[in-house]
């Protein structure tokens, strides 16, 4: 997603790259669970299990969230490139 794979990294750099990738992915998963819970779960908690409707809402939400993530990431990169610089802020 944030493509590394450049040549001749030191051992520490290789570890740090994978470490960072794992953290980024884990954080994305945590946010996805949070946002999709807000979209899909009944907050009265009359049931402790996911209903069928909630489960399939979560599944679809995860696909859409992932897609939105990719889309937004690409748009930002394009707009940054167009401006020819780092983050506009």
């Amino acid at each position: 997603m944030f493509g590394f794979g450049q040549p001749k990294l030191s051992s520490e750099e290789k570890i740090a790259a994978v470490e960072n990738e794992i953290k980024v992915m884990t954080e994305m998963q945590t946010r996805m669970a949070k946002i999709c819970s807000q979209k899909c779960l009944d907050r009265t908690y009359r049931e402790g299990e996911l209903s069928k409707g909630e489960a399939s809402c979560l599944d679809r939400c995860s696909v859409k969230f992932f897609e939105a993530h990719t889309t937004i990431s690409e748009q930002l990169q394009k707009e940054q490139a167009a401006k020819g610089g780092m983050m506009g802020r």
Partner: protein
């Protein structure tokens, strides 16, 4: 874990585990806050009622089920994305 030696993998695993401990405290805190916010609304008494305790318990169960499900979905989506990138998408 592309191309890491055994000892590098060990270092990585240790760091990730340490990081996860810290993350977990935050995630646990958010869980308590969210279930408490949804389930507890009566401040006339100072002990949790049976209804509130039940609600908290179901809220936690549902959260665990949600997390598990989302973890599976995320792994699938991530694997598909990796493959897409390796086939030269992007």
């Amino acid at each position: 874990m592309d191309g890491l030696t055994n000892s590098e993998q060990q270092i990585l695993a240790d760091r990730i585990q340490k990081w996860q401990m810290k993350q977990f405290m935050g995630i646990f805190g958010n869980l308590v806050d969210s279930c408490f916010t949804s389930c507890v609304d009566d401040f006339q008494s100072k002990a949790l009622s049976g209804r509130e305790t039940g609600c908290l318990s179901r809220c936690v169960s549902k959260w665990m089920a949600t997390n598990e499900r989302m973890g599976e979905r995320f792994a699938e989506l991530n694997a598909a994305e990796m493959e897409r990138q390796q086939r030269g998408g992007r």
